[in-house]
Symmetry: C2
Subunit: 393 residues, 2 copies
């Protein structure tokens, strides 16, 4: 093949807010109708607070039609064809902030400051819609279910099974905040076991955070310093909790956290797990592990590297693990590479060994999500970027 | 001088639990008497949970007398003489877990899960005692007041002033958890202003964390991966909040977090503050800063590097800033260098340029705490380690 297969591991899809009503259980219609104008108002206010309404309005101007690819399947395929993308992993929150699932079940998923029952209802509404959306084109759309597993393991397991039965390929789990049992709790084993057995990939995605007071000076800087930590936090609970020891084929993906700091995280975990830096006074805590934390990462974890995959990320790709880094366009978010993915990829990857480009753009995702080259290669042969463009001059 | 001046920037002092009663306001006696057996029991249980009672019992065996240096001034001076230390910065929690200030006002200082009024009472009891302890030998004892500034700015300012008037040289502030205004809030300016004007150095120290469930597998590994983040968190609120921009002579010290990851933190802040990694959609948040985050760090911040200052720390000393790293023995904690500080320093620093050893062991602390060589050098000339021992063979 003289083209690259691109599997974007960071795409977003979601209905315009009001559209989720049709996917809700009817008993939540009233709450939904009450919430909708409030959510619209809050979204608008938040854009104003961040001084971003201008930015977002400008971004949306003139591409309103293309942005309907957030929920319109025909437009979606047209968009990703043009972008050179064969398949996508689909997270919620289509167009930034404007079509997140209701009741706080979007990317900012957290078990805090929301009503669990309503958040579940919102999550199920999205899951039902995204399953439908993916069934339209199951080869190109790798859908994730939102699974609020911190609230109720039985309910969560039911939802994971529903997701699997309905063609979804992984789950998005909440950040760790509030008074819930953390991901190192054995009560979650049935979820990990099901995910391992059925190749459902577990994800976190940047977004969730505590409530920063964005009226205070520098709060955005604080958020930007912390967001990757909040997104990554479940990872070290899983690693130190021995979850990957017990479920050696479980797969975890950390998405859109930028990549430059991942080697630091691996170093931090390995140093802290070593005798020299922990001191005897904290007793034994490694007997549930047979490998260094970074070794579990390399075996069980991937980074869904999107949007900002620049020199800072390429520089550390081997430290992260060349098999553990996957590309994502982040369509339709403004910080993503769409609609210039082809050009940007050449900028980022030109001169990199062909095997590494192949891995980062596609084959690592094929491994991670257990995809089928026989289905994907024909698409890539039609729309993938030409390998020749990536050869150093 | 043919000896090094050592100022240990991480020492601990505190009364045996029951001793704090005499320093409490009498209206808290009843609460104290009720709390004391519970605190003893919890300390013992916690040691058992961590499987550390053996370790700690073994550590204490045979050095019971030396450990009284945690509160006994004559013993303290004898101990640090033998260790080659001219002066020390004194945090609470003398002997690990066994003589912390009452009501959760010790190193694990946090604004969460405690009664603020009682915690204040415990903090004041310690402040009164440590002020008395430092007055016995004001050259060698640099005492810090525990200031629970998240609860009440007026009360906190009163306490900082009291501390200054009573010879204390800095403050230990709580970690950021719970529903309190964060350190980027302008309401704290009076505290920073007073500290800047009176050269009171602001500190955090490793220890505070949320309530991990240590019965769960790997929880200690999680804690060890996160503790430095919790200790460091106030730092990036201060930096991005523009506090060092507004108070350019304010001094902040991050203590006993190990050092290897500090360059990563500086990189994280600088990258996040750069245009390329933040994306326009989050609006403006840097107009309150005139420098890169790492530049504020190098101007206003220090690392109190203790106990684990091994090759991992020496390797990054220039990345942190050779003027920003200070040594600490962590006496009387078991993970510290006491009673073998002299030998350990030679192991860590032998062959390092003399000027750098001078900076790390003493002169950086002299700058940070505004100490007086005329008072310290005569002590170092008597007990400091011989420079000759540090020259490479």
């Amino acid at each position: 093949m003289d083209r690259y297969l691109i599997v974007s591991t960071d795409g977003h899809a979601g209905l315009p807010m009001e559209g989720y009503r049709d996917y809700l259980e009817s008993k939540y219609f009233k709450a939904f109708d009450e919430m909708l104008p409030i959510q619209r108002e809050m979204t608008r206010k938040s854009e104003e607070l961040f001084l971003i309404s201008d930015f977002n309005d400008k971004w949306r101007q003139g591409i309103e039609e293309e942005l309907t690819g957030a929920w319109d399947g025909a437009m979606r395929n047209k968009i990703i064809d043009a972008d050179g993308v064969a398949a996508e992993v689909l997270f919620p929150d289509g167009i930034t902030e404007m079509n997140a699932p209701p009741f706080g079940a979007g990317l900012g998923l957290r078990p805090w400051g929301v009503d669990p029952e309503l958040q579940w209802a919102g999550a199920r509404a999205h899951n039902r819609w995204i399953a439908e959306f993916c069934k339209e084109d199951p080869v190109r759309r790798i859908g994730l279910a939102i699974v609020l597993m911190l609230y109720d393991v039985d309910e969560a397991l039911k939802e994971v099974k529903w997701a699997y039965d309905n063609g979804l390929r992984g789950i998005l789990i909440p950040a760790l905040m509030g008074d819930y049992d953390a991901y190192n709790h054995p009560k979650y084993y049935p979820i990990w076991e099901f995910c391992q057995e059925h190749k459902m990939v577990v994800h976190t995605h940047s977004g969730p955070s505590p409530d920063y007071d964005f009226n205070l000076p520098g709060a955005v800087g604080v958020y930007l310093t912390e967001f990757a930590w909040w997104a990554g936090r479940p990872l070290w609970y899983l690693i130190f909790g021995g979850v990957f020891e017990k479920f050696p084929n479980l797969k975890f993906v950390l998405t859109e956290v930028s990549e430059f700091w991942i080697p630091h995280l691996l170093e931090m975990m390995d140093v802290r797990a070593s005798v020299k830096h922990t001191s005897g006074k904290l007793g034994d805590f490694r007997s549930n592990l047979t490998m260094a934390p970074s070794e579990y990462f390399k075996r069980n974890c991937w980074v869904g590297a999107s949007a900002l995959f620049d020199e800072g990320s390429t520089a550390v790709r081997h430290e992260i693990g060349i098999k553990n880094v996957m590309w994502g366009t982040d369509y339709p978010h403004p910080e993503g590479s769409w609609p210039k993915t082809r050009e940007k990829l050449v900028t980022y990857f030109k001169g990199m060994p062909d095997t590494e480009i192949t891995q980062i753009l596609g084959s690592n995702a094929v491994d991670c999500y257990d995809l089928d080259y026989r289905e994907l290669n024909p698409i890539a042969e039609r729309i993938g970027p030409a390998k020749a463009d990536f050869v150093a001059n």
